[in-house]
């Protein structure tokens, strides 16, 4: 088969597809911001804690006090502007910057789907999502019927990467041969009607769910791409995400994925959706000024944009494999674990106690609840980068209180996927002297078991 990259780049597709995606994205993001605000999480996550965990290299990103609310407001408003397609380029850039800034403020609330939204909104900066059915069209009296196919395909590719890599992550011996962590999570959902006390407690079901979850993630992008299987695949998408939403506290993620999956459908569906929206907003069509529909949108500066997008995807494809550069068990050390679509993959809990020793040999244990919120303590207890950052925070704190020659030692027990808890950190290492870097943390004790997998 003759495939020429150049030919591909010249292919076009209906502009309605991206328009629907834009609307769905903007509406969901706005709802997400409102939901976060309404749950008072801005206060509990960003304002109440006296200390925030930072991403390596982004320590300069600070919470803005009460102006944090303003930041959320800006983020929510830019999402609305994206949805209606008003000053789209400015809106999506504003959204990307404000949303990413919000996420950078505290590593405690890292979620794979927040990362997804960040990179998706980045990608959308370069896509002409306001070429059709947007307020910008209305103002400029110009719209486009088609656009380059890669504008839509790039989003499909990103979605495909998320699913596929999530599936790859599930190819490991704990997930497939021990049915962990589903073996812990499913039986605890005994409240569910019908299945809670029956099927959820059965071992065969745990294995069935593990295997089908892995297969779903790996195969669904392809079934969505292929026309014949698309509709059934979409039903599976709905079922899978609704089911996991009922089971787990994963917030907006299922809805984001369901709505995003609509992009795989044909243009006719998208036109139907837009017509439905148009009829719901009847008053707009009545006052519509005539818009001149041009045939094809051509991306300006494509010589610049295409390489950027190419680089973007190259990074997305390679980044999740960086864990290979580190020794030790990935689930244990978590070096290279984040930002790799490892979603709902393991059950890990820890109990981590910090001992402060000063120059005179006096020592005492720290009460973590004096410094961290319960959520922060939970995240810190089993993740080494958090432990190191907190150790430095404690060292600085007690030094500033007058203790001289402060040293910080950590006793940490961690349980992974239903194994008995083991010692996690070398207690003899003064973590206050260890520095954060991209190098392997040799003060993490080795994992006393083996998990085979990718």
């Amino acid at each position: 088969m003759n495939f020429s990259f150049k030919t591909y780049l010249n292919k076009t597709t209906d502009a309605a597809t991206l328009a629907v995606f834009r609307i769905g994205f903007g509406v969901m993001m706005c709802y997400g911001i409102i939901r976060f605000w309404a749950n008072d999480w801005i206060d509990t996550v960003y304002l109440q804690p006296k200390f925030h965990f930072k991403y390596y290299g982004f320590e300069w990103v600070h919470v803005l006090g009460n102006y944090t609310y303003l930041l959320f407001l800006i983020c929510g408003l830019s999402a609305i502007f994206v949805a209606i397609g008003y000053k789209y380029r400015l809106a999506i850039i504003t959204f990307f910057i404000s949303f990413t800034y919000i996420e950078l403020m505290d590593k405690t609330v890292y979620l794979n789907h927040y990362y997804f939204i960040s990179i998706l909104s980045f990608l959308m900066i370069f896509l002409p999502a306001n070429a059709y059915f947007s307020l910008d069209n209305y103002k400029s009296k110009k719209a486009f019927n088609t656009m380059p196919k890669w504008c839509v395909d790039s989003i499909k590719l990103l979605l495909g990467i998320v699913y596929f890599y999530a599936g790859l992550a599930k190819i490991n011996s704990d997930w497939l041969f021990r049915a962990q962590p589903l073996k812990i999570w499913l039986p605890s959902k005994y409240d569910l009607p019908f299945i809670g006390e029956t099927v959820m407690q059965q071992e065969w079901f745990h294995f069935a769910m593990s295997w089908s979850g892995m297969l779903y993630d790996l195969l669904i992008p392809f079934f969505l791409l292929y026309r014949r299987t698309r509709f059934v695949a979409f039903l599976f998408v709905i079922f899978f995400h609704v089911f996991t939403r009922v089971l787990f506290p994963i917030g907006m993620f299922p809805f984001v994925m369901i709505v995003s999956a609509i992009i795989f459908f044909d243009a006719t569906i998208h036109h139907k959706i837009l017509n439905k929206i148009k009829s719901l907003l009847g008053f707009i069509s009545a006052k519509a000024k005539p818009i001149q529909y041009k045939q094809a949108y051509t991306v300006r500066y494509s010589k610049l944009i295409l390489p950027i997008i190419g680089l973007f995807f190259a990074i997305q494809l390679l980044f999740p494999f960086r864990y290979l550069l580190y020794p030790g068990e990935l689930f244990w050390t978590e070096e290279g674990y984040r930002l790799s679509w490892r979603v709902m993959l393991m059950e890990k809990m820890g109990n981590t106690t910090f001992k402060i020793v000063d120059k005179n040999g006096n020592s005492f244990l720290v009460n973590n609840s004096d410094f961290l919120t319960p959520l922060q303590e939970k995240q810190m207890s089993s993740q080494p980068d958090f432990i190191l950052e907190y150790a430095h925070y404690l060292g600085d704190h007690f030094s500033s209180q007058g203790h001289k020659g402060v040293e910080v030692y950590v006793k940490s027990y961690v349980a992974l996927n239903g194994r008995l808890s083991q010692l996690f950190v070398d207690e003899s290492v003064n973590l206050y002297q260890e520095k954060e870097s991209f190098k392997h943390k040799d003060w993490i004790l080795p994992f006393k078991d083996e998990i085979k997998g990718l």
Binding site: V45, L111, N112, I258, V343, M346, M349, L365, G418
Partner: protein
């Protein structure tokens, strides 16, 4: 057909949107019978322990009446014996900070130590005090009585002399009466109201009785047992040991036994062992076995036994132990800490108790 499927999908979506509520199960039997565990806890452990404690308080109150009528050495000795017996029975009740006990802050009005001697003396001096007020938590309960019965003076003769002053008699009596009143309140609420809720509220939600109890138990073991009785006096959380923060310091000879009783009680609760006839019923142990974690259940018992051994090596007065050889206190602390790790990390992971922080995707 397509339309039907879409409608169905929307329906499922809407159904999934609704958060699960904390309503009770209507007696449906679970795969592990949590209701049976709650029943065993309530009927065979909590309520009997409360009743036994209430009886010991009545004896204590009677002994006080005798003492008030005639404050002599004999009656003082009897009063002290009644105090000690009640204190021992209290250890079996202290973990249960749930239901009405939680509402009124029962535990904080019964056993906050170290007691604040200045606060006590000023209360006695001024006369108008509200013993149920938060500000008086460190001037009431067993620790305050510890001071009143042993710490008022250096010798028994001088102590008895103090009770010639009616103000001291009044405060002593008021302390005991306050404890009796709130104990009555807590016990009555259990038998007339809370028990049925406790036994049926077995959903895996943040506020269900079963989850609250599991979390309360762990909190008690970590704070009430490990920290308060051993860790804090040993100076684990401070630069220096704080021997005066031990339990029953004025009595000066029973704090170790109180700690052992508390540990035994904690182990019994874990194993579902009844207070009346020591039969083993449903408890965390059997729950873990049902989940296939006999390894963990056995380990917890072993670690508790290890901790007991370490505590038995201590001086009968923990304050004294801190002062003569704090290393042994630290070893007891370390042994208790291992139990806490098994409970707080392994057991909580096995139960997968619902914790409502935020959205989470297993990261």
């Amino acid at each position: 057909m397509k339309k039907l499927i879409y409608i169905f999908a929307v329906f499922v979506l809407v159904a999934a949107c609704s958060e699960s509520d904390d309503s009770n199960d209507n007696g449906v039997v679970d795969n592990y019978n949590r209701a049976a565990m709650q029943t065993n806890l309530a009927d065979n452990i909590i309520i009997p322990s409360l009743e036994s404690f209430k009886t010991s308080l009545e004896t204590f109150s009677d002994a006080n009446s005798t003492f008030v009528a005639s404050p002599d050495q004999v009656n003082l000795d009897n009063l002290r014996a009644a105090w000690l017996d009640a204190y021992k029975k209290w250890q079996l009740v202290e973990p249960f900070d749930i239901g009405q006990a939680e509402v009124i802050g029962y535990r904080n009005q019964m056993n906050i130590y170290p007691t604040d001697v200045d606060n006590i003396e000023s209360n006695i001096e001024n006369g108008n005090y509200d013993l149920t007020h938060d500000n008086n938590n460190d001037a009431v309960g067993f620790p305050a009585l510890d001071y009143m019965l042993y710490g008022l003076a250096d010798s028994d003769t001088e102590l008895l002399n103090k009770y010639q002053d009616v103000k001291y008699i009044t405060y002593l009596t008021d302390l005991i009466e306050a404890m009796s009143m709130i104990t009555e309140e807590v016990l009555t609420d259990w038998t007339t109201n809370y028990r049925s809720l406790f036994v049926s509220s077995t959903n895996n939600t943040l506020t269900s009785a079963v989850n609250k109890f599991i979390n309360d138990y762990i909190f008690y073991f970590e704070k009430g047992l490990r920290a308060n009785k051993i860790g804090i006096p040993a100076g684990v959380f401070s630069t220096n040991p704080l021997s005066e923060k031990a339990e029953a310091i004025y009595n000066g000879s029973n704090s170790r036994d109180l700690a052992i009783l508390a540990l035994d009680n904690a182990q019994n609760i874990f194993n579902g062992k009844t207070s009346i006839n020591s039969e083993i019923g449903e408890g965390f142990y059997s729950y873990l076995v049902q989940l296939g974690r006999t390894d963990l259940a056995t380990l917890i018992n072993t670690r508790i036994d290890d901790a007991r051994e370490k505590i038995l090596l201590l001086n009968q007065d923990l304050k004294t132990q801190v002062e003569i050889d704090n290393t042994k206190m630290n070893e007891a602390y370390d042994a208790l800490q291992l139990v806490v790790v098994s409970l707080k990390v392994d057991m909580l992971q096995a139960f997968d108790v619902s914790v409502d922080y935020q959205d989470a995707d297993g990261d």
